[in-house]
């Protein structure tokens, strides 16, 4: 690349940035945890299979949540892992890219926008390097590597995409457009609905800046046709994840819809905004000061450079003014408290649909802020340097500031910030070397024939799981079992909705009978217990096992957990070192699909929050195969007289069913001897897009792996077929009426099926499908076509183009 070819300093810095992350972790170690979790570096194949391909999440009740945007990046990791099997190397390489590309992109942008003057090439390079180093050393950049969420790639993506788009706007060269599209596809997560806040914080402002810069300062006309082409290709390429996201946003009642449009929800967001307003300090942002307290005061130099840059701008160059305006704008967004009027204005912005995504404003705007700060600093610094004639003084200034960056970021450079102690007194660090025995346990779970769900113990306050490695590190992140085995799991309080509170209360009272019933209603068949004392008895005494929450209700030691599990399970089916798996009694277990014998009708209590909703209906009764439905749903399905009875016994001749999983979004249910109306329950999180279709295929008994309730319910051999010739078979079929679909057991899907609905047949096959998955297939087809066209176009652009100029 000619960017580095003739500049040894630049090359040296880039190489150092690439090599640095390899010393943060030891070979074999992995930094995987946190809210987002980065298990794809560890096991990309299973992550793609269980997390990325389907519209149903692999966690707890199977909420509808798409992670399709992960497919390109994790797909690349699958390929990369064939060549580089070490997760440590992949993680380090990823961090190297963040640093080196982030630095080089800022360097290139500042070098591009600094006004070209004769004999000032050296000063331009110094100013650009300082801007790049400043960008890397800012608090937003160095303090977020630990437990980095997927959108953290914005640290290099933002400047890289900005530079490519700037060059595209200045030159009209289509190679830049091609690069933008391909890079955006690889890192599709950063352009997905999940990353909406960082995306909308940066790209609209960056786009407007570039348009103004190109038009007003460089006086080049914008080629709107090429821009429109870029937009169309972008949407075409990203259809596979954007289309399901847009549709989800438009569905009334969905989580995304409420966050964007619900006025009550907006008031909550404003309340949250004011609650955290005191956290960011304007001065902290301005000074961007060092973690090293000894030299922290030196950071006042940076706002001084900005002011001097404006002062020295004698020729009234518009570039620095334009950057300064955008700098002030993002400073306002990042701090939220430039005067009381400014804060009030900020509050009004929340009424713009979608703006409430910035409720965590200081976290989401900081990356954009430091980006523009770096550009401003680079251009202002150049203004100052352009007045210095002596080369010696230039070099001294450069080395002084560069040394400041190195000293102030030393904790980051030496890896202390990336791999700190989780639990300092017990010497437990963030990076983990996975226990092979845990990997064997995961493999065992993967091969379990039943798709019953798993309760993960020790139970946490939220949804986290703790695993101690064979080194002095521990993983603390979103539970691994669902993501890596395909068996949904419940690891914490937030996942047991609507039974969260009642589960804790019953656990505190040690009411084991009722606990088993709740596990049955949640389709939990197995209990995974990690009996390692290092993760519960001696460490992690606060987070995620807080003494004010989970430890108040659940067993307080691993020994007590063993007693607890003995009373809620039937037998141990696996043991390997700390890891054991137990099976609950089949009398209490309700399979993934079941036909209830008794209906309990209840009135919902609107005062109960989502974690306590089960208090309205669960009274610890011990009858088998129940279903709980709300009175309002009962009246639609049955008649008012029956619903007033509060419990209804179904007809004796409940049909036999046999169910098998095709994939997490599609099941076949074979029904035999159905004479009367009955209810069919699917223990997955309720969603209107779960539909039932009557197949014209005659049901035949298949291979059975488990039977329940005297063979009334049989579980077939499960598969995981993403795409085959039958994927779209339900397109021509009519689904059961929507008013036959109701919320069962406070969270699940229930259908009331009458003989009329199934053409008076006694034996038939039903297909139960999450129709949201079809939208993904359509989007995927669109994206695939655009991708192939893009690749062919790329070959033509780079290999057969007559224009051979180096476009960097």
């Amino acid at each position: 690349m000619s960017l580095v070819k003739n500049n040894k300093t630049l090359l040296v810095i880039s190489l150092l940035l690439i090599i640095m992350p390899f010393f943060w972790l030891k070979p074999g170690e992995m930094d995987l945890g946190g809210d987002g979790g980065r298990l794809y570096f560890y096991d990309p194949v299973n992550q793609i299979k269980n997390l990325a391909l389907y519209y149903v999440s692999p966690f707890n009740r199977g909420t509808t949540d798409s992670s399709f945007s992960y497919i390109p990046f994790i797909g690349m990791l699958v390929v990369a892992k064939q060549v580089i099997s070490s997760s440590y190397i992949l993680i380090s390489l990823h961090n190297s890219i963040k640093l080196a590309v982030g630095f080089l992109a800022i360097f290139a942008i500042v070098r591009e926008i600094i006004p070209k003057e004769k004999n000032n090439v050296y000063k331009t390079k110094i100013a650009s390097i300082i801007a790049g180093l400043f960008y890397l050393s800012t608090p937003a950049m160095i303090e977020n590597y630990i437990k980095a969420i997927p959108s953290h790639s914005q640290v290099f993506l933002n400047p890289l995409m900005f530079y490519l788009f700037l060059r595209f706007s200045l030159t009209g060269n289509m190679k830049y457009m091609w690069s933008i599209l391909v890079i955006s596809l690889i890192f599709a997560t950063n352009f997905s609905w999940q990353s909406a806040p960082p995306f909308f914080a940066f790209y609209p402002i960056a786009f407007i800046f570039i348009l103004l810069y190109v038009r007003v300062i460089r006086q080049i006309r914008t080629d709107w046709r090429k821009l429109f082409t870029l937009l169309v290709l972008f949407f075409g390429l990203h259809s596979f994840h954007l289309v399901p996201g847009v549709i989800d946003m438009l569905i009334p009642g969905s989580h995304t819809n409420a966050r964007v449009f619900d006025a009550n929800s907006i008031k909550d967001q404003i309340g949250y905004f004011y609650a955290i307003l005191h956290i960011p300090n304007s001065s902290f942002y301005l000074l961007s000061y060092s973690l090293n307290k000894l030299i922290g005061q030196v950071s006042f130099v940076f706002p001084l450079i900005l002011v001097f840059g404006l002062l020295i701008n004698k020729k009234r160059d518009k570039t620095i003014l334009l950057i300064a305006i955008f700098f002030l704008l993002v400073f306002f967004f990042a701090t939220g408290k430039i005067t009381n009027i400014g804060t009030k204005l900020y509050e009004f912005l929340f009424y713009i649909p979608g703006f409430s995504m910035f409720r965590n404003f200081y976290g989401q705007w900081q990356f954009v802020y430091y980006f523009f700060y770096s550009l401003f600093l680079g251009v202002a610094f150049y203004s100052i340097l352009s007045r210095i004639r002596s080369r010696i003084i230039l070099n001294i200034t450069f080395f002084a500031i560069a040394s400041y960056f190195v000293i102030s970021s030393w904790k980051f450079i030496n890896g202390s910030l990336v791999n700190p102690f989780r639990e300092e007194k017990n010497n437990i660090k963030v990076a983990i070397v996975m226990d092979p025995k845990y990997e064997q346990t995961l493999n065992f779970i993967r091969l379990l024939p039943s798709d019953g769900k798993i309760l993960v113990l020790p139970f946490t306050d939220s949804y986290m799981q703790v695993i101690h490695g064979v080194n002095n590190g521990a993983f603390v992140g979103h539970s691994t079992i669902g993501q890596l085995t395909g068996k949904k799991d419940f690891a914490g309080y937030q996942e047991m909705v609507p039974y969260s509170s009642i589960f804790w209360e019953l656990s505190k009272k040690r009411d084991y009978g009722s606990i088993r019933k709740i596990l049955g209603l949640l389709n939990i068949k197995y209990i995974f217990h990690n009996s390692d004392v290092r993760i519960y008895d001696t460490s992690f005494l606060e987070n995620p096992y807080s003494p004010n929450y989970v430890r108040k209700y659940m067993p307080s030691t691993q020994l007590e957990y063993k007693e607890y599990i003995k009373n809620i399970s039937d037998e141990k089916v696996y043991e390997n070192s700390f890891y054991s798996i137990y099976k609950i009694n089949e009398k209490d277990y309700l399979p993934h699909f079941y036909t209830p014998e008794k209906i309990f009708v209840y009135e919902d209590d609107p005062k109960l929050n989502i974690y306590s909703k089960a208090d309205a209906f669960f009274k610890g009764n011990t009858l088998k195969r129940p279903v709980f439905i709300e009175n309002k749903d009962c009246k639609i399905l049955l008649n008012e007289k029956m619903c007033n009875k509060r419990d209804i016994v179904m007809q004796d001749n409940i049909p036999e069913i046999e169910f098998e999983k095709i994939n997490p979004t599609k099941y076949r249910v074979k029904v035999f001897n159905a004479k009367y109306p009955y209810m069919l329950i699917l223990s997955e999180s309720f969603h209107n897009n779960w539909k039932i279709y009557l197949s014209d295929k005659k049901p035949e008994k298949g291979d059975v792996v488990s039977t329940y309730f005297d063979r009334k319910i049989q579980e077939g051999k499960h598969k995981n077929i993403f795409l085959d010739e039958k994927t779209f078979e339900t397109l021509r079929m009519k689904s059961l009426p929507d008013n036959a679909h109701f919320v069962a057991n406070g969270y699940a899907n229930g259908w009331y099926i009458t003989p009329r609905d199934v053409q008076e047949k006694g034996s038939y096959e039903l297909i139960v499908e999450m129709t949201g998955q079809r939208i993904f297939y359509i989007g995927l087809a669109t994206s695939s076509i655009v991708f192939v066209a893009l690749m062919l176009w790329g070959i033509r652009l780079f290999f057969f183009s007559h224009n051979k100029t180096n476009y960097f």
Binding site: L304, D317, K337, I338
Partner: protein, 112 residues
């Protein structure tokens, strides 16, 4: 009335540096002496700055010079009292002064 306004203008022109010093002291006073954030005071002082800088035909560059004062206050406040409210107010003033200077520069006739 006309004689009165002439007298005021003459007085302001005669004591130009006194007036400007008082305004800058007002900024420092707002930062260091007034404990709470008052938009009335802040924008009143800012309006005076804009008014008198235009009255005295002082260029935008001088506003940038004034904006060095909040930075100096921030520096010393961090050493003396790192958690003082003055630091936040100084940051707000820096923002307002830079913004005002930029606006003045853009509206100026000799922009490149």
């Amino acid at each position: 009335m006309k004689i009165y306004s002439h007298n005021v203008i003459f007085f302001l022109k005669k004591y130009k540096y006194v007036v400007l010093t008082l305004i800058i002291m007002a900024v420092a006073g707002d930062i260091l002496l007034i404990e709470n954030k008052s938009d009335l005071i802040t924008f009143f002082i800012l309006s005076l700055i804009i008014l008198f800088f235009r009255f005295y035909k002082i260029g935008s560059k001088k506003i940038f010079i004034v904006s060095i004062f909040p930075i100096v206050i921030i520096f010393f406040s961090f050493i003396i009292a790192p958690k003082s409210f003055a630091i936040e107010k100084a940051s707000t003033w820096l923002f307002l002064l830079i913004g005002t200077g930029i606006l003045q520069e853009i509206l100026g006739k000799d922009t490149k």
